[in-house]
Symmetry: D2
Subunit: 476 residues, 4 copies
């Protein structure tokens, strides 16, 4: 609602091994993953090797009607995808799952992440006569896998042979007529886990909250580099690409993932509480009440309050009816209609010194508007605390943390300047060190490139990261 940063995708896969309401599983799971992508979504089902699919622009609630869900029907396998794309121009051919037919049969692929060598791959395929319907790197990935499939004895072997050529972030589910294959890049940038329902279906999902949504219990995360195959022969793991440098996006914990998810054995909600506690230790404030910006800042605000002993309060009422179809007020009304989405609960802040917690400051415009609302409602002081370090570098691995022009932390030289720009009495970010400590408690290593500029693998130099995410150019 307030123009934050976005994860680029969520994936979901179901392997029932017999006729089951797999489309419905996918539908429920995508609802739980909707926070990872709101632009488009789709589901593909395999019933005895026949594929059916439905995809469209919009939320799961908009794309799937009862009819369409019924049309997808029952099957033995399904995959689903929610997508957020970073460019305005939407190409319908980019909506996933991408379902294709090749010489050995069919496949449907769902991809969360971003390849850093997408351009080179694409060029190489094009030189052999390949045609591309969309602009996403998913088609390059498919050509690479299908190219290997010409000689590989199975699709999973084709995936294994293709992986060394796929550089970057990819957490994928791939459906064939009879198998569900889940695989994750050797760095493990994006999460991917699986579990099982009591009736025996295997569920693969970007986050464990999707497992909860369909009543499955979490078994474990797919390992970075692992290829996991669900088939009539049970579950087989191919770990030939495991063992690389782990680099899970630290931002998943403190920003993207749903609080009720568990990633790498750790609760996302707990990580956010902890971020608030670290903030309180690193950057305390003299204040009467701690409030969070709904919904993104609430967990860290509670953590800040618990650590600091300052009272936790409910500072805002978020209007849950203001959604996509809200008609933007006319110029004349815009000034007035500031509190339609978010209204201050005056009782909480009037006459108080307020600690305001949120999980990020992107452009700063929303933030300064909220600060003004607080002051208009009688807050005496506003001390902003941000539960993540400042973004200073673009992300090449599947989020839209992008160009430096859009990031206030790149535009302004110091925290003091940002504080002045957004109008707060004091401002502090979580330290990178603290972010590592939160992460380190789980004994993992992480990617923090968007904070530090140190990326775990080489990134393309001197080139926009979204080369193909534009209206298609054409030669002659």
């Amino acid at each position: 609602m307030f123009g934050g940063l976005h994860e680029e995708c969520g994936v979901m896969g179901i392997f029932a091994g017999r006729k089951a309401p797999v489309a419905e599983y996918a539908y429920l799971g995508l609802y739980a993953l909707q926070h990872r992508g709101q632009e488009s979504c789709g589901i593909a089902v395999s019933e005895d090797g026949l594929f059916r699919q439905h995809r469209g622009d919009g939320l799961v609630a908009e794309v799937f009607s009862e009819e369409q869900l019924a049309h997808l029907g029952q099957g033995s396998i399904a995959v689903g995808h929610v997508r957020y794309s970073t460019t305005g121009g939407k190409n319908p051919n980019n909506i996933q799952p991408v379902v294709v037919c090749h010489v050995k049969g069919n496949m449907a692929l769902c991809h969360n992440g971003n390849l850093v060598n997408a351009n080179e791959l694409r060029r190489a395929h094009e030189l052999k006569g390949a045609i591309f319907h969309g602009t996403a790197d998913t088609e390059s990935m498919i050509y690479t896998i299908v190219g290997e499939r010409l000689t590989a004895p199975s699709t999973e072997e084709a995936v294994a042979r293709a992986m060394p050529r796929l550089q970057g972030a990819y957490s994928c589910v791939l459906m064939t007529a009879t198998k569900l294959i889940a695989f994750r890049d050797p760095n493990g940038f994006r999460p991917l886990c699986y579990g099982r329902t009591e009736s025996g279906e295997f569920i693969v999902a970007s986050e464990s909250c999707a497992l909860d949504a369909v009543g499955a219990h979490l078994i474990r995360d797919i390992e970075p580099g692992e290829i996991l195959v669900f088939s009539g022969q049970g579950v087989q793991s191919d770990r030939r690409h495991c063992g690389g440098r782990r680099a899970l996006c630290v931002f998943e914990y403190i920003y993207f993932a749903r609080p009720d998810s568990v990633i790498e054995g750790a609760s996302v909600h707990a990580a956010r509480l902890m971020a608030g506690k670290f903030l309180a230790k690193e950057s305390p404030a003299q204040a009467d009440v701690v409030i969070g910006v709904p919904d993104s800042g609430l967990d860290a605000a509670l953590g800040f309050a618990q650590q600091s002993g300052i009272r936790y309060g409910v500072g805002f009422l978020k209007n849950k009816y203001v959604g996509r179809s809200f008609i933007a007020p006319s110029q004349q009304m815009r000034e007035k209609a500031v509190r339609i989405k978010l209204n201050v609960i005056r009782e909480t802040v009037e006459g108080k010194r307020v600690v305001l917690v949120d999980d990020s400051i992107v452009r700063g415009t929303t933030c300064s508007r909220i600060v003004r609302l607080l002051r208009d409602s009688g807050a005496k002081e506003v001390h902003m605390r941000v539960s993540a370090p400042p973004f200073k570098h673009p992300c090449y691995f599947g989020t839209d943390v992008d160009s430096e022009e859009n990031l206030i932390a790149c535009q302004l030289d110091s925290v003091e300047e940002i504080a002045r720009a957004i109008g707060v009495d004091s401002l502090a970010y979580l330290s990178i060190d603290a972010a590592h400590q939160i992460a380190g408690l789980q004994g993992m290593s992480y990617c923090d490139g968007c904070f530090t500029g140190n990326y775990p693998i080489a990134v393309p130099a001197g080139q926009s990261k979204h080369k193909f995410e534009q209206p298609i150019h054409s030669g002659n």
Copy 2:
């Protein structure tokens, strides 16, 4: 979402006195009042005495498109309404505002409340040849006012003369070609307040949150019995019917109204915090964490935690994407898809003794499902605390607290039985005495008929309160 109790309406009126975007004011205000009625809504605008209107079934977001808002256009006065009706069969003629033409001109009426003598009034008008398009008591109210208008020198005088014949709850806005008239029954069952924007428009609304939404500051509540007229001559107050027994619905504070609203000078959010505190005092629990059911129980849970010293926790993740268009899972999936709307944050409750706070228990089914979720997530004990007394009696004044068959507190003899039914280790309700204390702090008297069965005015005996809210019967 979980089948709670409902307020029946919200009203909104704007008097600009010159050409202004009054439809847009109404639109924004209705968004802020949407929690008071989700079944239908409408806006009527007067531009130099010409009335335009648009009404429809559904949420504000569904009924008003950009085109329709543009069609309503600018004007000097507007009224708007959101409606919740208690019966399944929707009669489009009941959607408000009701716009009619009579011998002296036009009027558009919006009504929040319920007349207890609607049947007698209707019968009396029918015997004089009146015809009724809808089933709501609003038409009876209009006939009564129009009947007086035949001889009264002005519409406001007609309203004043009609009021003694209108028994029950009514907080209304009435638009004529050149005036906006707000009036409230002498008991003041339902709230009604007004304020002014910086550019000079007067705004009348059921709750002050609608004033905030359009950038108006609250002036004061309309007095019980008061008739307030906004016209080219300024603001005139007729208080001839003031001074009766005040009987504001206590339920507005602890259940219906939006937390950021201020009613009779008191913050609704503060009232809910206080309810939690009283609960903690009256019915303490030995526990490790206090959680609230989102969103209705969160404020009281925080109050309980503050009073008791037990840690406040975030117990649930509510999926904000699950709305009206969510397709109910098939029989086969229903068992599994329990956590799609509300998922437990296991981290918060696992291995803990939990105090679970909500603002009511209606049928008990939702409640017992939530309790089961908590236990499945490892909660060791669940102590439920309800921040209102148990409903035991129907409401005749504009809510759907209705038949005793649907209220678990009527069906079961004791709190212990209810506790067993919903599966909690202990259960306590707020005492009626505490409810009065919360209220009493504002020096007001209240209607608590739904808790006590003592109503401030006589209610119809031996008759359903919704006689006309059914498909129309017909004689010959």
Copy 3:
């Protein structure tokens, strides 16, 4: 499509006397009557005295979904209506059937026609405290009937007592809980007939084509002045108001009604063929081919060809896909996109002297565009023949033949001037005498006020005929 003149309504009634798919009968019948009104439509059903209704703006195809038809369900009686209103501003309260509740029960009324004393009636009711939701004269009619019903022993008797006060055109169906009452004004301006299906349901409809559509055979027309009651007691006719001067709209035969309908025992198609033949006799032309403007001029063109011996040809291809949702071309394209709706079949007209037949010339703009198309396609001469006399006077009885400013025949002094204006080599209208002869063959007398200015009953002097068909004005 080309802005012709419009009938204002069509009505439909079904009396099954037992549970039957009466809503479906109404749905099918309204499809057959759609040419009589395309702005809004509605159906009301009585099931054991319970009324259900659905109404909306748009075509039958747009207003009724499968769900809504199912919701109306089965019943013993139904009435339906299609409406064309002459003003842009649509008031949803004018959509029929108008369903109301009065002291003796319910009724649903559908009205085709126009009252000339609507204003006086309305005023009289308003002075007694009546309120009006819409602007149509139907509400005045209902108040008049309901007023009589207070003392009359039955609804049909109330209708009979009300009729002397209702002046103008009205062909109505009225549904009570147990009866279907059809009645027609004593002049019989608008058609109304009834028939019966093989399974015994009685069907009342504006035109017999609606009887065909539901498989009913035509019994006879309702007589001018007749009240026909369908009830458990069978069919009763009240003819106390019969015997007045018959004045069926002559325009029904030569313009409005569907060619496959039979009115007063005569085929509409035959009347149109005959109009063409008279035209050929009265105003012959030296030509090579006779063509009609689709669809309105085709029948008369065939008659002209048969009488004159000149070859009948197909002159145009009408694009049946160009409907309401066609997006008007941009300014830049408008000049070019002349043949998207209607394309000339060059083969038929190239190098030929063409007789072009249509049933009217309203403003002349469409006509001159068509003539230009013909010339561009190589027609050597264009001789236009119009199968009705020129409209020179407004209609007060249920059509939109309206203000003189919009009628080319009023604006220009002579047929020669009109011919010049539309660019034809010769032009002739059907004579009023011939129109009478076509009519006279059926031994009837007709209203030809729009041609002659002689109306069968007094019409309101010095006043727009559509006083209330405007946005509502309001006093104070």
Copy 4:
């Protein structure tokens, strides 16, 4: 409406060479070609080499909103397509134009026709690693062209080199960043013509009626085998593949094309009149009136009447409001609702011996229903005349004249049996010889494979013609 046979596609191309409303041209043109395909449609626009596209299921009126047309905007080139597919399962990836990116740039292809070697082509590409998104042969065509483009100096040369490998029917328009290329298979199965507007835009279209719709004049047909290139260098024709055996589908004249179109210099309307005349000579009837089934039989009925001297009559009224959204009557009503789509004009047929003309009998069910309607309306005799020879063989070149099971002429041994089956007094088809004479008048040779089984080129043996038009199968 009555389940006839279908053409499979229509194509449209615009080359403006400078910024122009090319999307609007395409929109208008597709409206004129809508009869060639009603299942899906699409438009792609090139603005300075940037491609924009919009495609969807449904009619042009349903797929294109004002917004979407505006989004396509202005450009220098556009291509458009309407599609009818013969299988129920719609694959959204089959909707055209197919827009792809390859190593040398972009292209958008629209194809009308059917390749007979689609399977072999596809297999060959798949063996090189190709992936297919849809099931239509258009992707095989693109791979073939793109494969040649790797070495060819231009796209038109790539097309020229690819054509020998493309066997079957194809009339195509192909857009690159700067060129519009139209090409047609050497047999010229499907029509394709071009023209120019007065403002200089070149228009390519399946039929000349689309040229009329946008105000362009017809220049000539694209020659069978010709490649016509529109670019900044003007218009270039490559005829290296011209000169083969011409085999225009004879069915275009007598069935598919719009009567106002001109194909190979001959009027389609004239061909249909002539078919009626031949019918009257070959198979006269003793009758009182000749009527046609609307709209497909009207032209030939008029020809039959002109030749035989029997009076031409209007036998039916077709309800133009019964379209896609018509709700099928319930079982109970189906028997009754026979005349909702097509009602007999009793006046025309009662007591008469009737010649009934239509352009085909497919399954026979619609036909026998119509015959029954005529008899129920009093027709004494019904003599059916069909203005085409009987279909006895599947078509492999772009229509859905398909399996023998669905064709009554294959199922029954003799014309007499068919006559008995549909209940007519006599029945006659146009002779193949006459069909050739109609065709021969234009000095052309034609494909009449669906009548004779003699195809101009080899067709695949022992294999369904729609191999890929099914839900996708998948191996492993």
